[in-house]
Point group: C2
Chain length 501, copies 2
């Protein structure tokens, strides 16, 4: 038991140090002055180096070997066994990475995010290209250092979605696309169209902030243990127990961006706040994977937040919050507008059906980047080409094309597919929650989201990393992950709204 305690104490310290990096990273994207970037890169590089040093300490390896032969691992679902198993996973990955690479990645991606932010604003891919080259170069080195069976991409993907592979995801995505394409086709050729102009009116920023914040609180995000700020590319950062940070961006004449951004990040935040604080810093107090994390954000944003029962509660409050703006708008108008299906350029503004097509574009491009089949400098052309194939549209600018997302600048290659995995998990989990909890919609109509939140706390959040993503899904829903529930949910929603079939 002494060896176990030492292992946990050592591992917790690496996570505590990481949580400092989390806060420093949050600041970088919210409040850091423009000229602070170079110094920030040095801070991030130092933190990454120190984390890596702590994590790869030979003593952790010795303790793991000792504990893996101990009775502690007999019951493989015990807290100890889970922690030992998952610390092994993280340790094995870390020791394969040279310290210099870890440090350089932190330094380069901090600078690259800053350059990306300016490049996106100025629609200047050329300014970003050398930094994308640096990042891709380092990530390819990382993939080689980690090693892989089938594809170097798998080595990167595994960090975000343990056990997932590109070939498996390719299959799931292909099935999804096969059913999605005709559905989108059908919906977009329907005669009935929403009044989408109602989403582009004067929505005063401070009122957007207040209304969004109150909705996030209503679904269960605890603002005594968290906050909401604005940023260029929204994210949620769980710093540690009692401290979780949501971010969003507002547009004074667009409702969706700010509001659904908040609901989305609040879904992530509710997961982080639902982790077992007593296990903070250990696998049993950590999220399973990015795919499961995304399932929580998409579940609240879409399955709940774009549904009729949710707005039966919130629509009168919305009208009060923006007096005069909505006088000519009915609940039906509103629901139809926020569920408008339309091909467009920006992923985070895409409807629930087209969203996944945006992911597939990125998934294919980043595999090519990591394989070395696509030169980072050729990304704009390749992006536009792929985009045309999927959407029959050409992005009017790189800012609305390959520069729209922060991920590659922060080294997040292998990250995008977890968004669509999240959509799939969200639909399958929600289907199960509705079975387990009876009439959830009545709760929502009353503004009561506690039942669903508690169900997610019990089934997902408080289990930590007890199960890997696919196993967790099977445990909760009794079935392996499939695209069935998402398709069924979308079909039903659009059939009602668009009066098709």
């Amino acid at each position: 038991m002494e060896a176990y305690d030492e292992l946990i104490q050592r591992f917790k310290e690496t996570r505590l140090l990481e949580s400092i990096g989390g806060l420093v990273g949050w600041d970088e994207r919210t409040y850091m002055p423009p000229r602070g970037s170079a110094h920030r890169a040095e801070q991030m590089a130092l933190l990454a180096k120190l984390c890596h040093q702590k994590l790869t300490d030979r003593r952790i390896g010795e303790l793991l070997i000792k504990l893996e032969q101990s009775p502690l691992v007999k019951d493989d679902e015990s807290v100890q066994a889970v922690n030992i198993r998952e610390i092994r996973r993280v340790y094995d990955r870390a020791v394969k990475l040279p310290e210099s690479l870890v440090e350089e990645l932190a330094r380069v991606t901090t600078r690259a995010q800053n350059v990306w932010q300016e490049a996106r604003k100025d629609n200047d891919f050329a300014a970003f290209a050398p930094w994308l080259e640096k990042v891709v170069h380092l990530k390819r080195q990382e993939a080689q250092a980690i090693g892989f069976k089938e594809s170097p991409y798998d080595a990167l993907l595994d960090e975000y979605e343990p056990g997932a592979t590109a070939s498996e995801i390719t299959k799931v995505f292909a099935e999804l696309r096969k059913d999605l394409v005709p559905l989108v086709q059908e919906v977009t050729s329907a005669k009935k169209k929403p009044r989408k102009d109602i989403l582009s009116r004067d929505y005063a920023l401070d009122r957007q902030h207040l209304f969004g914040q109150s909705a996030a609180a209503a679904i269960g995000f605890d603002f005594t243990s968290g906050r909401l700020d604005t940023t260029v590319h929204p994210f949620c950062s769980g710093i540690g127990p009692g401290d979780c940070r949501l971010t969003t961006r507002f547009h004074p004449r667009e409702f969706n961006q700010g509001f659904f951004g908040i609901l989305h990040e609040a879904g992530h935040g509710i997961y982080d706040q639902g982790l077992d604080a007593d296990h903070f810093g250990t696998p049993m107090g950590s999220a399973v994977s990015l795919g499961i994390h995304e399932s929580q954000s998409r579940l609240w944003e879409n399955q709940v937040g774009r549904g009729r029962p949710f707005w039966e509660h919130f629509f009168p409050r919305l009208k009060q919050s923006f007096p005069g703006t909505m006088d000519d708008v009915s609940l039906d108008d509103w629901l139809f507008a926020i569920n408008n299906v339309e091909r467009s350029f920006i992923r985070v503004e895409a409807d629930e059906a087209n969203y996944n097509m945006h992911i597939i574009v990125r998934f294919e491009l980043e595999q090519a980047l990591i394989r070395g089949d696509l030169n980072p400098r050729d990304v704009p052309g390749a992006w536009n080409e792929k985009f045309r194939q999927s959407f029959e549209l050409t992005p009017p600018s790189d800012a609305q094309g390959c520069l729209q997302d922060i991920h590659w600048s922060m080294g997040g290659l292998g990250y995008f597919p977890t968004y669509t995995l999240g959509n799939l998990y969200a639909a399958q989990l929600m289907e199960q929650a509705r079975k387990d909890l009876g009439n959830l919609d009545d709760d929502f109509r009353r503004g009561d989201f506690a039942g669903l939140k508690t169900w997610l706390n019990d089934n997902v959040h408080r289990r930590g990393q007890k199960y890997r993503p696919r196993e967790l899904c099977r445990r909760i829903t009794g079935r392996p992950l499939s695209h069935g529930p998402l398709l069924k949910y979308l079909r039903q929603k659009y059939a009602e709204l668009y009066e098709i079939r």
Copy 2:
């Protein structure tokens, strides 16, 4: 030269890590959610431990010994000699402190700041008392570990003001008090009184923010490398090159607090921004002492910001910023009001004369705490007693008495006297700047503060720690520090305003 480079590289890393602690501490006092305090304390403790480990690495000691016998230290004003000398100072202090004490101090003071903040709000000294006990207990241990010739207080003071001692400061303060008391007496019994009500009108917060920010920018604070936020107890935090954070607090019906708070912190910020970025993380790129730091803030806040020429430029702008609020106010009214001399309870709102009496109260109390002559639980009584002696007033509450300042909660015992040292240095430096630069007042009237800022950059900021505080003062002004210039300045100012003598 190799040994020197290694020393610098190692020392810089400790400072880089410290700068992360600076940012984390800034966040703690600006944006951290209420329940984040316990986790934050763990983060701060870990950072303090890691810093201490890096700084006390035996290798630094070996390198210092080697370098102290090398030709590098021959010219004792060379960059290398200064860096070696000052790293030795910091190293010798650090190795005397046990790691457990360093860690515990960081943990306890983080929590204590949070408790203090609530206790001050609730006027509840009893809630804070156990934390003050813990802090004082740890600081007494620190003083013993460091060692001292005359008084344990000296061991703490030395961290903030290298080379200063309680007995020397006691002497300076006694002389100052001897001349200040009759001056205050004379001023407060003058017939002429300012219309101080004009400072307590409706000053809209957003306009205060904008006006204060524009004044900070005008005197030379660079907002592309910094920012301004609100907090409970204002401070300035220089994170590193390109990143310096000012904070203030605003009251919707008080002008002074927000505005002079900003000018004050901007003075600190201009010092931090004026340090040589190429020497960041080494003594040659670091501030001399808290006393000298405070001289910069007090110089801009008082010597410049409460003077007639400054307001000849800013008063018309002030009237524009708060339309309608100032219609009945003349420049003379305004100048007199912002220089009102009156005994009051709050240090940071005190006039330039009484301010130093506030410091003397704290200086005497904290010496008693560190000697063990005053039990932390008895602070309220002792405070009120001392306060009555100096001000002939009894604080109406602990919130307006011993709970008003953050310093003791953050372990800053030995910190307060540097404020009055700062006032003395500010007056002596300003006297010299006026000699060197000719008619500064004409510059100020035109809103031009660049001449003074450049003079401070050259004479103070960019010299880093080349000279210790007293020597720096002698080099710049040709004389040792005395209370003469401050007294002369105050006498002249009040003679004009109050029409005395």
